[in-house]
Symmetry: C2
């Protein structure tokens, strides 16, 4: 029986490919993905049938992958990061028939990739929130930010800012300060984590320049115990004194 | 100059090793880790100096790794999951001198590994909370659970239950229902995700048998939109109707 592999290849560079992904891609007749991501696969695309489409065609890509498996061809659908977080695993499982053999392979998510470049900013209880309001009401997003502040979570933000929503990040950072986070709270921003064009910004809550942030950036706001140690953003493992 | 690599090798099986980890381990003279985890490295330990210690000696392991690097030996300190989440990256950066060359390599975290085995339960905004109160006040943990419920986050729980805290998970699940989550909310539990001895439980909030849960289990509670589709736990990507 043909298998559908749902693969998030990590932040982009092949350094974060896992052995399970290499095997799945190797076993696939067909590779489906967003055109720019296919370049990360390098030679692995040789002798494969390739179906690649533009940014807005996620659902179309999912349907194409499902159709290939229905036609008996083992197929990998490729995204970046981990396919299970704002990725392709959800739409694939929503659209595929229940009896299809589907294997979701875990990968290195953009927030952990960004965190590693900053040091150890996550380390403790954390939340991940996307600021994209395409599919989620903006009021719910703001409520989640407020709850995250109230719970003193480390906060990692996806889709912080784009041309279509230039002010979302600014609004959220202001809300955090309104809700009582001090201006000196450490903030790390990583653009293109772990791939070409990587930029790291080390700053604090009241000094974030939102203009440097784009939709490929991950923004990490520390909890009340997070501090900078040289270039490293460090969240201690606990609240007690050692 | 010697380098200290901080590596979370993923859930355990070598299937989730990344190429960056293989390179770092290959470049290391010394490997430091918790004794049972060193077995996951297989032949990679050959011709290396190995420093392994028991469960309670995390800080001791960190100090040993730092000392090796101070002595000029490139060293990898190994944990499972991602080293940046409840892992070794924090204590290493807290304890090491500022001028040491430290590289944190991101890995596949236990919650994403567990999520992949369940299908796509995370997919949207989520929180991760550890129920270990060794270093965090229990009241703060309960407050975080309440905030997570209020924000309708997907909730992933680490360290849900151990001999020393047999009732923590029960208390937290009861709090979730007190706070208004319906009993039919999907819950997935994965023990030993992605390695030998893996067990997957598919259930709902008011039917969780906490007796099957141990400290190596990850518990995932869906948000208000999460549903079961056959064996797959699926959280849709958004709140709007397509």
């Amino acid at each position: 029986m043909a298998t559908l592999y749902v693969i998030g290849i990590g932040p982009g560079g092949e350094d974060h490919f896992t052995r399970a992904m290499e095997k799945a891609i190797g076993a696939s007749e067909v590779l489906v993905g967003y055109t720019p991501y296919m370049a990360y696969l390098g030679d692995r695309v040789q002798n494969k049938e390739i179906i690649s489409t533009g940014m807005k065609s996620e659902i179309e890509r999912c349907k194409a992958a499902i159709d290939q498996v229905k036609a008996g061809k083992t197929t990998s659908i490729i995204s970046t990061g981990d396919a299970g977080l704002y990725g392709m695993a959800g739409p694939i499982l929503e659209l595929a028939p229940e009896d299809m053999d589907i294997q979701v392979l875990p990968g290195v998510s953009a927030n952990f990739a960004s965190a590693a470049r900053l040091g150890a900013p996550i380390m403790h209880d954390f939340v991940t929130i996307s600021l994209s309001d395409l599919l989620t009401p903006w009021e719910l997003i703001l409520k989640r930010v407020a709850m995250a502040v109230e719970g003193d979570f480390v906060i990692t933000i996806y889709n912080p800012r784009s041309k279509g929503r230039p002010n979302h990040l600014r609004q959220v950072l202001d809300l955090m300060m309104d809700r009582g986070i001090e201006g000196s709270r450490p903030v790390g921003i990583v653009k293109n984590a772990g791939r070409e064009g990587e930029v790291i910004y080390r700053t604090q809550l009241d000094q974030v320049d939102v203009e440097v942030v784009d939709m490929l950036s991950c923004v990490i706001i520390g909890n009340s115990k997070t501090y900078w140690k040289g270039d490293f953003m460090v969240t201690p493992r606990g609240y007690e004194n050692k």
